[in-house]
């Protein structure tokens, strides 16, 4: 939907927009929102754990910060992708094309980094949080891992990124960190 920020849409409107045969919102936007949702779950779990976990307030604060960091990246990703597509479709200088494509890779990289952090916090909450909400924290870790892997894939698909590019190494590192955190979260007992 041109002119609207995804975060201003009703959920149903966003789902309609997602399903439409248009390039955006696409995988990057959904990855960002998934990470943001996961961060919301961690915030909730931490807020419900204050009686049993002294670090809960600090974890809630970090989860809120990561939620705020990830959410807007949905729109940012779509905007960057639009700009890159426009540069690909219209004749432009090499430099501008490269710059737009590079920018389009930076956003999923930021999503991957944020996802890794959310997964880490989720794993902490799954281990240390109040029993009733450890399942929610574990779900958050898995969702964050998914966001990290999806975002890392998108980094890799960018035309300016090669396999041994520093950005790809960083994206793979974030996906691996998220995977390890999600594994810890799932292994945590009730």
């Amino acid at each position: 939907m041109a002119g609207s920020d995804y975060l201003d849409l009703r959920l149903g409107e966003f789902l309609d927009s997602l399903s439409a045969p248009a390039p955006t919102p696409g995988g990057g936007a959904v990855a960002a929102l998934t990470v943001s949702l996961a961060a919301g779950l961690v915030t909730m779990a931490a807020r419900r754990s204050v009686d049993s976990w002294s670090d809960a307030p600090g974890v809630a604060a970090q989860a809120r910060a990561l939620l705020a960091r990830a959410g807007p990246l949905a729109q940012t990703d779509a905007d960057a992708w639009h700009a890159a597509l426009a540069a690909l479709e219209e004749p432009r200088g090499e430099t501008e094309l490269e710059e737009r494509l590079a920018k389009a890779a930076e956003v999923p990289l930021a999503i991957a980094d944020t996802a890794a952090d959310v997964a880490e916090l989720a794993a902490l909450a799954a281990e240390m949080g109040e029993g009733t909400y450890r399942g929610d924290a574990a779900a958050a870790a898995v969702l964050a891992e998914a966001g990290a892997r999806a975002a890392a894939k998108l980094v890799g698909l960018n035309l300016t990124v090669t396999a041994d590019d520093a950005r790809m190494v960083r994206a793979r590192g974030a996906a691996e960190a998220a995977r390890a955190a999600a594994a810890r979260a799932l292994d945590s007992g009730p």
Binding site: D5, L7, R47, V50, A56, P57, G58, A60, A61, Q62, R64, A65, A68, G71, P72, Q75, T76
Partner: protein
Amino acid sequence: MEDRSRCEGLVIRVNRHYVFEEERLADVLATLRPAPAGWVEIARELPPARAAIDALVARAEQDAAFRAQLVGDLEGALAREGVEPEARVLAELRSRLG
């Protein structure tokens, strides 16, 4: 209540529903973000830039040949004084030279 603040090109949404004081402190911390490094560096280097301008202007007032040379190459003159020939510094030097 939601508050949108535009900062560094990103829209940062702050939902001010806090459960813990730590959450509120985190938001408060986050409102003072670093200024762009280049801006800060120019401001930090104001005293040596000002001293260099003062020295160049004083010399130009005493030496017409030097003044002519200076007017012809402000950037070079500043660089030789060890001062980054940044736009504001150049503007001040031009203004002082009249």
